[in-house]
Symmetry: D2
Subunit: 350 residues, 4 copies
């Protein structure tokens, strides 16, 4: 049994990690930290987990306890908060899966441009493996530091990767229109997340320079071998879980429907968590049918007369968009079957 | 591996059975019937199951195929539709878990009063075991015919059983106010279930003589050893899954909060799927935190000055209210651990 | 034009008052107070009002400005906050419609029991008219202090009044099961109102001694001429606006369906904002079809064999449950047609 | 009083017309047709209208009754169904506001391409005025046949018109990502609109060649004086009412944020129902805050470094997207104040 700590365990991503790890046959969660709920049982916050983790209570984040109790760290701390403890944990030889944005960008200059500060550990940016198994499975084996991707970035990259890899689209003019449920904003209440305001909303936000576009551009550019310009325009819609990326692009070189289909099949047919929706109801991906699971459903619409394509990716923002993907990467890095603890089938209706 | 047939497999309850049985280590689903989708792959209807049951397609309901392909039958056919095939399957020695109302009532006269027709197999009413493990676990061991309870009845009975058993309440004046999500109405579209009409609704229905009150009265009367009169008043609310029973009753004999608490603890503390919510957030049961699982969360509010109690039970109408409970009863009847394939943790947020 | 001030104008009830009064032909809103948004234009908070109240900005609450700018005061301040300023405004001769609970209870001892403090103005409790036009229309004419009822109390009283007035039910055993949308909790975000937690919830709250039961008992007892015991058990469901009261009671003296129907028709047939739902779809009241309007739809389900009745009342908690009813009472007290500015037809679908 | 007939009055658009016209001071509705509900009172279908139209019942569609009872016809019949009766009504001298797609396209060849049949009245295509007041106000004065725009087309055109008119964007590469509530699909239940399937969905549909793109291209090309290519990619999200168009385009000629802002202000500052959201919460248009009203809120996000703009338009699909706009056009054509009966303020929260 691997001893695992979950940092920032009282938020949604932390709770989702606990939900998955509760039934992981190779894992024992020995530490769950929370600033606000120190001393409370897990189900005091995560009502769904009543009956699980009976001997575990939230504890304060402390390096010595971490080093003593854990071999592997999942950090669901907010961006910027966990950098130093992650660095210390790595130095002490622990494995870290970091779910924040802290180690996702390779280039310190790019990090500074998007996050407004010098990165204190530029060497760790190099060391970190971007935790998207569909692009970096081999690098993940044995990795010590995994930077788990953002949810909107995951959806955007997985929708576009086949088209970018095969150079079927104009790499300069890509706009990803993302629609996301309310859990993507985390567990802290705010005016915008207040139910009377959020329910029924169709509300653009961070529509000018969304940070996840930096990740998406980095990964897609690496895949293309040249610069790919991607904009993300997210919208809050009134689901709780689930995000859909509709990646709008223009086909080049006479590419058509068959090329698009082939690109998806070639890239994903052996992926355990990617399902290509093609010629069957409901026609296109809908996150409603992956909620609770680690699946990402992908598909595409092609208007050949206009040389236009929209590539879709639908995922559960807390699973393939966060905790599920982190556990998948962890499994790979440990040499476990990557589906371990992730054989969760979505609900229908959900 | 037990060979299992699911009848009525394209509806919501059928789909939920398929979702659960997909990962049941002792089961192979060999037959899934549907009138409308004969020949279609399972995921043509159940989009969530894409990637599962790759070799199975919906087939027409036919007795010979059933007897040839299956040892155990889960029937999710509508009320009245499956009676004869169930009788034939039983005669041929198959085990049947029937999820309709056909075999739930013991007394043929009561059946006639509520369902408006003579029951063609009154002997089977006697043979059938009411599939509520919390009340009939011992009878379920080895049972050949299991009549799986209705969702509103399950919630009502489990909310009231401790109070009725301990005779803490007036058995003549009990009204259960049920609030239920839209999936309780099944998978067939109707004017009332049309999204624009159903979303945001708080709508009483079948408020004068709901059929599930017959089941609830039967089971609670048996528990009390005297007649218990229970009314159910259901309301459609805008969740998708989940039902809450708020059972309003009047305390007798000076009973107070401690008696109520003790009755719940005594009855349920060893039950694997009943969780008693007491002195911790969110205070009372909320089906939101059991969705997707086989749990039923129970609790109570007591107003001693008015000798009033409200007992609550929250469940997922397709799980503990239907397919989950059916699999739980199946597991018991087969001698498997009753939690097999049911270790599904609810989502939060869900 | 009557000069009107709205106190607590940035909350939901305040915003709803502004929405109604914007088109009131006899009213000019001269003052709108808010602690948090001083100096901001109205639409900074109430996005829906963009284009209205162009010359008005939120101001700090101050007695001198109030006395100078207003003849009539609508106070949507929280319970306990506005008492002194209301008393001062009354003393200066202004008319006050108070939407808090501060002046609803007649008996200072009852006030103390439910609100935990001595009432500083017991004489004003006597002076105040409970602003429910269906029970107090005559007293409202010319009234200087109107205590506008709580939303759950309004629904409970209007559902039960015909049955209580005609003594058709046991007055000792009445339980009102209320289901309410999220706007009932006001505009301040909280953990329970956070969209991911609130959407899909069916959650009992304040289930032991809800404060609105004091109002309901007071008003129904006065109507009966004897003590009526009413319990309220509210549940949060996932609508935004709308509340349904399902008042469960037991019929006495052989009363049946016809008596119930007659009681409703007798009491409400001439009421401009009460609609009795009888023998037509959707069968029973559903707040979905009154949202945005001042209507309250009422109806009843009768199970004669069990001597059981459930009386229903459906309203928009911010309209007939708060701001709409306050304007209705204001209109009566001023001698205007009571429907002025309230001819708002609900949406369908809404 | 103008005598008005509403054809197809039992659907959502028909019901919305009835809701608006109920309080129109210059209109008497003398006829409301429905195939399914002949003889039923209006509130049998439109529960919200209980108390209105007491003397009106649904009648069968018949030309003689129409010519006898009405001076003006609002046709909310489905596409293709009302063509002949509209032609006959026009011939008899009635004014027609047609809310279907039958008369929106000017070019019979374009009509045939998108709707798959020869148009039987090509001359009426020329005669019809496209009922978008913001583009055709002058032509609407006195118009006899008004072709009321589609909801997605209205949103797309109003979002893009300022940018197209000023030639700020590449007219060849425009994709409008539309998110729409469930009422857009009309009042007929279907598998996709069944609440358990529709709630929580984020589902692309008609993503390859949506018919409203023909209207949008026609109108925007006319405005530009050259061909504009617009694709619409609609998505079903889980609101009931409301649609948001996010029109993604690329800026040309060095255009930046100021040019975009100026284009919106220039075009819309005197429009009674267009509100430009700029530098104030909630930042961008959200249909939640126009629901129930005839407003369309517009705005834009600019990423100058990428020469990218997203123009937004948010409206209520049954109001500015259908019935409200039709009444606005009717008012203009009749010489009434165009805001008559449309002074409906949106709800917040709604």
């Amino acid at each position: 049994m691997v001893k695992v700590a979950v940092l920032g365990a009282s938020g949604y991503t932390g709770g989702e990690l606990l939900r998955i790890l509760a039934l992981h046959p190779n894992v024992e969660v020995t530490l769950a930290t929370s600033r606000e709920f120190v001393g409370r049982p897990i189900h005091y916050v995560h009502f769904n987990l009543r009956g699980y983790y009976k001997d575990l209570r939230f504890s304060r984040l402390a390096l010595d306890a971490l080093l003593k109790e854990a071999e592997v760290v999942f950090s669901a701390l907010p961006h910027g908060v966990g950098m130093h403890i992650v660095a210390s944990a790595l130095e002490a030889g622990l494995k870290v899966i970091d779910l924040s944005a802290d180690f996702r960008l390779k280039d310190p200059a790019v990090y500074k441009r998007w996050y407004g500060m010098e990165h204190p550990y530029p060497d760790l940016l190099q060391k970190a493996v971007y935790g998207l198994p569909e692009l970096h499975r081999e690098e993940l084996r044995g990795a010590q530091l995994i930077a788990s991707p953002g949810c909107n970035a995951t959806a955007s990259i997985l929708a576009l990767a086949p088209l970018v890899k095969q150079k079927l689209i104009d790499l300069e003019k890509i706009v990803v229109d993302v629609k996301a449920g309310s859990s993507e904003g985390g567990s802290e209440p705010s005016r915008g997340s207040h139910h009377p305001e959020r329910e029924g909303a169709i509300r653009p936000y961070e529509a000018e320079g969304h940070r996840h576009s930096a990740e998406a551009s980095q990964e897609l550019s690496a895949l293309a071998g040249e610069e790919v310009k991607v904009s993300l325009v997210p919208h809050a819609v009134s689901s709780v879980r689930g995000a859909l990326a509709s990646a709008h692009a223009w086909l080049v070189g006479g590419a058509g429907r068959e090329d698009v289909t082939k690109a998806f099949v070639d890239m994903y047919s052996r992926e355990p968590f990617v399902r290509f929706i093609f010629m069957a109801p409901p026609g296109y991906p809908d996150p409603k049918y992956v909620v609770g699971s680690n699946y990402v459903d992908v598909g595409a619409a092609v208007e050949s007369s206009l040389s236009r394509v929209t590539a879709f990716a639908a995922l559960d923002n807390l699973m393939k968009g966060a905790a599920g993907q982190a556990v998948q990467a962890f499994n790979i890095s440990m040499g476990f079957d990557e589906r371990t603890a992730l054989r969760l089938i979505p609900l229908k209706p959900g």
